[in-house]
């Protein structure tokens, strides 16, 4: 059998019989399961995909739409193997198909990023022009690079053009470091930018604790605040009776430090409760930053659960998907601390924000208690108001 015939047969095997159904090799890869289940079939399928050459790139990228994280890496490495071989052989990649895939924002964001990089390798100049259009892209790296490209272009024109670009682009920034650079430039130009509002941090919480988490058993124990919220309730806590206390974050990234607010207690559980008002039913992500084991409840339903301690403080390390209903919604966080004694295990804190799927702002409001004790609805991200001046 000649090599070309082998490739032809492989390509026939990869080509989808129906546009909606991935071809059998892709199905085998999409079927990989836990602990290596399906790996043998996936390995055979991977070889078929790669043997089929560049015509398999777009179907393989399309398969990302329904791939698990593990399956996506089988697909990703297949695409990289095909592209590697084509580039070594100095054969062109399917540039127009890749460009169309990048522009199709219904496709998986990670797959579109891969497509963009292959397109950029094929036609670098044209790819940069396409990139500059993607400042509001759903894929975080494309968005980031697009903003950087547009800023670089403006900087070559004039300082005024750069400032105009900074003002135009800052709403699209999602990464803290890029946003901080933009905010710093705007501050220097006398146009301060509110990062807390931009990121939609919940800054007003009711917090209760500590409850017991000895031997980390409290993580799985549903203490009364999980069953029903009662602002006036008193509960038996780890160190005695506990009740809800209002807390407002003064941190631009919305942090509530439980070691300060509740006390430095090890093997402990705290709950944080907030009310978020939505103008209409809205799909959202509750994105939390916390080094602690964490559960997130939206309107009483658990939407996130990670029983791991000492995760660091990477922004948005915990991402939970949910849908806000029109009107009043409740967000409850369960923040658990273990008993470890090393200095880097002492953090007991959280921050949370409510965003769209890109991490962008959604127009929501929260109940904020003012220094005078009144409650008002304010946009998410509103920081603690300055204390009322003392009357003499």
């Amino acid at each position: 059998m000649t090599r070309s015939l082998v490739l032809l047969l492989a390509l026939v095997a990869v080509a989808p019989a129906h546009a909606a159904d991935p071809a059998p090799p892709l199905q085998a890869i999409l079927a990989v399961g836990k602990e290596g289940a399906g790996n043998a079939d996936a390995a055979a399928a991977w070889k078929q995909l790669v043997a089929a050459g560049p015509d398999t790139i777009i179907p393989t990228l399309t398969a990302f739409d329904t791939a698990s994280p593990a399956a996506a890496n089988w697909l990703r490495s297949a695409v990289s193997a095909v592209a590697d071989a084509e580039q070594k052989a100095k054969r062109p990649l399917p540039a127009e198909a890749l460009k169309a895939f990048v522009k199709d924002d219904k496709r998986n964001p990670a797959a579109r990023r891969i497509a963009y990089e292959l397109y950029a390798a094929a036609v670098p100049g044209e790819a940069t022009n396409l990139l500059a259009e993607l400042v509001n892209d759903s894929e975080s790296d494309l968005r980031r690079d697009a903003i950087a490209e547009r800023l670089a272009r403006a900087a070559k024109v004039s300082p005024a053009a750069l400032l105009a670009a900074q003002k135009e682009l800052v709403p699209f920034a999602r990464d803290r470091d890029q946003l901080e650079q933009l905010a710093k430039a705007l501050d220097a130009a006398g146009e301060p930018f509110n990062k807390t509002t931009h990121f939609n941090y919940v800054t007003q919480w009711l917090v209760v604790g500590p409850f017991d988490n000895t031997a980390e058993a409290g993580y799985a124990k549903a203490y009364p605040p999980e069953a029903q919220f009662d602002a006036k309730a008193e509960y038996p806590g780890k160190l005695g009776p506990v009740s809800w206390k209002a807390m407002q974050s003064a941190d631009e990234y919305g942090t509530i430090n439980l070691n300060q607010e509740i006390g430095k207690v090890k093997s402990a559980v705290a709950y944080a409760y907030a009310v978020v008002e939505a103008p209409a039913a809205t799909p959202v992500e509750v994105r939390a930053t916390s080094p602690n084991a964490l559960q997130i409840f939206l309107n009483g339903e658990k939407i996130y659960d990670r029983n791991a301690y000492h995760n660091g403080r990477a922004a948005d390390a915990h991402v939970a998907k949910g849908t806000l209903k029109a009107g009043r919604n409740t967000v409850l966080l369960k923040v658990c601390q273990d008993d470890q004694k090393q200095p880097w295990t002492q953090g007991w804190e959280f921050a949370a924000r409510v965003s769209d799927a890109t991490g962008g702002r959604v127009p929501l409001r929260q109940a904020l208690t003012t220094p005078t004790g009144e409650t008002e609805l304010v946009p998410l991200g509103t920081l603690k108001a300055a204390p009322a001046p003392e009357k003499k």
Binding site: N73, N307, G312
Partner: protein
């Protein structure tokens, strides 16, 4: 059989005997039997080749036969994972495969997702990343299998960044996964990546790489420090015994029945049936993140600040100390009567060993690096943050 077959077999045999540096610190000792090694290089000579890497890596270079394997990580979130193969003789990039991190990429700035050193054998290379992603590639770059350990065991986490390297024992890929979440030592089937055994461990971070010891009956055991030094049957994963032996960030070294464990200095113990017998302690051998090396009757270690010590392996007596320039997190490597060190500033330092040490070369790569050098095929392989260097004659 054609006439060329025996010659081919003989040639491959020479390659595999002489050259392999298959895993973290070679075979886990940091020592090599290679001879006639280079001492250094300059801008104009001594460099066989160099190759640009797509990202950073604290992981070491590994070799098998004519293949050189390297891992790297890149991207704004350090979530782009790379596995590359190069031709040892020419530096030609043979293949480059990419994966994405499926676990957390939070880590101390000194490290990155390409922290565990890969391990290679005739079947190809096994690459583990600090994000809990592990993959096996054939020598030609074919993906044999892939696992997302964080998808399988979602609580895996270590905010500092994991760094323990996988090892091969009893024909299995041994994966160390000590962290603040679900912790374990597991053996994966090299052909399809499924668990052969998985033994629970304490939920504590650990950056050490296990040591493998082959017993007189041909069986292998895996020595893994942590709260204690625990010893596992490589065939079954059963814990055979444990001993109170100091542990730290650096890795243990096994040389015959000598066990060196870093942690508050280095402790030397004799491995016995079912336990250890302490031989000596050397508080001065403060090796920090690097691991000690046993070579020709001596133990060598370098402090993070650059004090190189030579200790008698039998007695623990310090023979000499010697100051070298730089900060060190890479482990020293011993071969051909020399000790090679790679400083964080990116300098390869060669010291001639003997009754008195002698600095014989200090070569600058011009970029920072933290990975332990590899010795293979008459060359020294070092990696900076951006470049892979092969030091040797062309």
């Amino acid at each position: 059989m054609t006439r060329t077959f025996p010659a081919t077999v003989a040639f491959l045999a020479v390659l595999s005997v002489a050259a392999d540096w298959p895993g973290f610190r070679g075979t886990g000792t940091g020592a090599s039997t290679e001879k006639n090694l280079p001492t250094g290089f300059s801008e104009t000579s001594g460099l066989r080749w160099k190759a640009t890497l797509p990202g950073r890596g604290v992981s070491g270079v590994v070799t098998h036969g004519s293949r050189v394997y390297v891992t790297a990580s890149s991207g704004q979130r350090d979530d782009r994972l790379h596995v590359l193969a190069f031709d040892a003789a020419t530096g030609a990039q043979l293949w480059h495969r990419q994966l994405a991190a499926t676990g957390s990429t939070a880590a101390h700035p000194d490290t990155c997702m390409a922290a565990p050193t890969p391990v290679a054998d005739a079947s190809g290379v096994y690459a583990l990343f600090a994000s809990g992603d592990v993959a096996a590639f054939d020598p030609d770059g074919t993906l044999r299998w892939y696992r997302s350990l964080v998808s399988d065991y979602p609580t895996i986490t270590n905010q500092v960044g994991m760094a323990s390297s996988p090892v091969l024992a009893a024909g299995k890929l041994i994966v160390p996964m000590d962290n603040y979440g679900e912790s374990f030592l597991a053996a994966l089937d090299g052909k399809i990546g499924q668990n052969l055994w998985k033994t629970p461990r304490s939920k504590e971070a650990n950056w050490a790489t296990p040591a493998v010891r082959t017993l007189a009956d041909g069986k292998s055991e895996v020595l893994f420090p942590g709260r204690d030094l625990a010893v596992y049957d490589a065939e079954t994963g059963a814990k055979k015994w444990a001993a109170k032996v100091p542990g730290g960030i650096a890795s243990p070294t096994v040389a015959g029945d000598l066990l060196l464990t870093p942690g508050g200095g280095v402790t030397a113990s004799k491995l016995e049936a079912g336990g250890v017998k302490e031989l000596w302690k050397s508080p001065r051998l403060q090796t920090g993140m690097s691991s000690p090396v046993a070579f020709e009757g001596k133990v060598y270690g370098v402090t993070s600040a650059g004090v190189l010590l030579c200790v008698d392996a039998a007695t623990g007596k310090v023979d000499w100390d010697f100051r070298v320039k730089g900060k060190f997190s890479a482990s020293p490597v011993a071969a051909d009567g020399k000790l090679y060190l790679f400083s964080e500033e990116g300098n390869l330092i060669a010291v001639k060993l003997g009754a008195e040490p002698e600095l014989i070369a200090e070569s600058k790569t011009g970029e920072r690096g933290q990975a332990t050098p590899a010795v293979s095929g008459g060359a020294i392989f070092i990696r900076g943050d951006k470049t892979l260097f092969c030091v040797g004659s062309k």
